[in-house]
């Protein structure tokens, strides 16, 4: 089984990082939703709480687990470090210890009248570092001719971009 790098797992487990789950519906329409409760389980799978049985995310995830489709989780830390994790939903629980853990966490965060429909477990299959600096470096190496020629790495420039410093 693919194992998440520690850096990625730590970022997912960080309560202050932003996590977004992307799914598609029957016709391929994308749907993204922010998930507050997300954690890496001991077995390396990723679990997140789904608040509502009738949400588009939940319905899309049901279809995904039925017909073996992928979903994606994007996680972004406070410093901009971003990872995109591709995986398959492998389990949905709405009873038992794992569910209760998330249910009580939701209660703590949103109060005694809060709701949680269930917990989805995703098996990660692929991770991609989507942090800007990392991706820029990758692209510059892979597609050097895609760069704009007024960029500081290509020629001397006086331009100041979005308040940034002229690197020359």
């Amino acid at each position: 089984m693919f194992k998440l790098p520690k850096e990625v797992a730590d970022l997912i487990n960080d309560p202050e990082s932003i996590k977004i789950v992307a799914t598609v519906d029957e016709e391929g329409n994308p749907h993204c939703a922010v998930k507050d409760f997300c954690t890496v389980l001991e077995d390396g799978n990723i679990a997140f709480g789904e608040e509502f049985e009738g949400s588009q995310t939940n319905v899309n995830l049901v279809r995904s687990i039925w017909f073996d489709k992928n979903v994606e989780l994007t996680v972004r830390g406070k410093d901009g470090t971003t990872f995109q994790i591709k995986g398959k939903p492998c389990k949905y629980v709405y009873i038992g210890e794992l569910f209760k853990r998330f249910y009580l966490a939701a209660r703590e965060k949103w109060g005694p009248d809060s709701e949680l429909a269930g917990v989805w477990v995703i098996t990660p299959q692929e991770v991609k570092n989507e942090t800007y600096e990392v991706r820029k470096k990758e692209e510059d190496e892979k597609h050097p001719f895609f760069r704009h020629l007024d960029r500081a790495s290509v020629r001397k420039t006086k331009s100041v971009f979005l308040g940034g410093k002229d690197e020359n």
Binding site: E26, S55, V59, Y94, I95, G96
Partner: protein, 490 residues
């Protein structure tokens, strides 16, 4: 007739989720635990021994223990009356085939008629799997793992007693994971009393055998429901059910009906003669429901009721007889939200053959009209009916082909859907204590249920009917409702 295998059906219907197909197949074929799986259930709090609660004498597996267990190398003795909290497929679909031991006590699977070889529930690489196929001998292996599954723990109220000393497990059941089921009169159905039971039904003999209370003590019920409602994230709905009692407030001598059935069989009578009831028909049964509703109202607290449900009623469905309009209104006023009256069989002739009690009190048209009236009272989507899928194929009087049976069932679903009522179906059980068991009826093949689930679900989608009270986690016994999970955004 050649019967398609699971894989052949799966290949023929690729748009039908495999887990739901497997669920149907587990209901048809049953499941046997290995000792390792049973140990895992204990480790995960998913096992409970109810023998003390039910005061059952220890029984041997080979005799009548409801939990079939295989051990290394031969089947072993299972002394307790075991209960597991439920087994689920990865997607949360409820696994069938273990009905007697999954919190419900409805039917002993040791005598439930199955078709084909049972699945094995075993550990593979320390995970819980359903295994299927040959070889089955312990020395040569146990077939191939086909679906990973998981246990759910038993509810906390198991093992607790009310202040009167009644085991709470006898007061309510939670056969579906998120629902509290209350049987208001476990050991009584007037149709049984008159020897006119629905032919597939064994609930009354089973309830009597298990010593379930005929009428609930309402204080015991109050304490038990309060205890269950305190389980964090436990339950979302309450279902009431009970045997039929068409009597009004003036009981009368029971009629003997065997002669009528014989004359019907001989086609000397065109229809079952309708009964006459003194007083208000079905008032006795409704009175019992109302007592329970009042008790439940206490559990929630009157001031909370409007917040429980937008209609200001309790999150409760009654699965009950067909009631006259005045009785339905009484139930609504007592706080009932949803109502299901099970027609069981759509075809008129088969209805009276298979459900003679319903035919007598007071015939198919009466039951249909009651369901139609109910939707005026409880609202669109809050009224449903159920068919017992497979009963209409009973030999020799039932439909001769699956095509005819499905056509009749879908006619029923379409008829009611036009009136804002949805039809669901359960998979036929043939068990000790029922007429079907004596008649040696058989289960239809997997493909029949797959086609029926697809057809019923398509009608529900077409009419955009809600199924929330009977869905995959508040009921769990309806494959067509499992399919509705991807329509919740509609």
């Amino acid at each position: 007739m050649y019967e398609l295998s699971f894989e052949e059906v799966a290949k023929k219907y690729p748009d039908f989720p495999r887990t739901i197909m497997r669920k149907i197949d587990t209901a048809l074929r049953g499941i046997i635990f290995t000792e390792k799986a049973l140990e895992r259930a204990k480790e995960e709090g998913a096992f409970y021994d109810a023998s003390a609660d039910f005061a059952c004498l220890p029984t041997r597996q080979s005799e009548k223990s409801p939990l079939p267990v295989v051990a290394e190398p031969l089947p072993v003795v299972a002394e307790p009356l075991p209960v597991v909290g439920g087994v689920f497929f990865r997607d949360g679909t409820y696994v069938l085939g273990l009905e007697s031991v999954t919190r419900g006590f409805h039917s002993p699977s040791a005598t439930l008629v199955r078709s084909g070889e049972p699945y094995l529930l075993d550990l593979v690489d320390s995970k819980l799997w359903l295994l299927d196929g040959e070889p089955r001998s312990c020395t040569q292996g146990r077939g191939e793992p086909v679906e990973e599954v998981y246990f759910a723990p038993v509810p906390r109220y198991f093992g607790k007693k009310t202040s009167r000393g009644t085991p709470m497990i006898k007061m309510i059941s939670s056969r579906a994971p998120n629902r509290i089921s209350i049987n208001i009169s476990s050991g009584y159905c007037h149709f049984f009393k008159e020897k006119l039971p629905c032919k597939y039904c064994n609930v009354i003999p089973w309830s009597i055998e298990k010593g379930l209370p005929t009428l609930l003590n309402l204080e015991d019920l109050y304490e038990t429901v309060n205890e269950a409602l305190g389980e964090e994230g436990g339950f979302t709905s309450i279902h009431l059910t009970g045997g039929s009692d068409p009597r009004g407030n003036s009981p009368r001598t029971f009629a003997q009906n065997e002669n009528v059935i014989q004359r019907l069989d001989a086609q000397e009578l065109p229809i079952f003669p309708r009964a006459k009831v003194r007083g208000k028909p079905y008032e006795n049964e409704v009175n019992e429901y109302i007592k329970v509703l009042k008790t439940l109202e206490r559990c929630f607290g009157r001031e909370k009721i409007p917040a429980v449900n937008r209609n200001g009623s309790l999150p409760v469905q009654a699965i009950a007889s067909a009631f006259p309009k005045k009785q339905l209104i009484r139930l609504k006023e007592a706080g009932l939200t949803a109502y299901r009256s099970n027609l069981e069989v759509w075809d008129e002739k088969l209805f009276q053959r298979i459900c003679p009690g319903k035919a007598k009190y007071f015939g198919r048209q009466y039951w249909i009209e009651s369901i139609l009236q109910a939707v005026e009272i409880f609202g669109r989507g809050n009224v449903s009916t159920q068919l017992v899928a497979g009963a209409e194929l009973a030999k020799p009087y039932g439909f001769k082909t699956i095509d005819e049976a499905i056509a009749s069932d879908l006619e029923c679903a379409e008829f009611f859907a036009r009136h804002g009522i949805y039809t669901t179906f359960c998979i036929l059980w043939i068990d000790r204590g029922s007429v079907f068991y004596r008649e040696k009826q058989e289960l239809p093949p997997l493909e029949y249920f797959v086609r029926l689930a697809k057809g019923v679900n398509e009608i529900r989608r077409k009419y955009k009917l809600s199924s929330d009270f009977n869905d995959y986690r508040r009921d769990g016994f309806h494959p067509d409702m499992d399919l509705a999970r991807i329509d919740y955004t509609d």
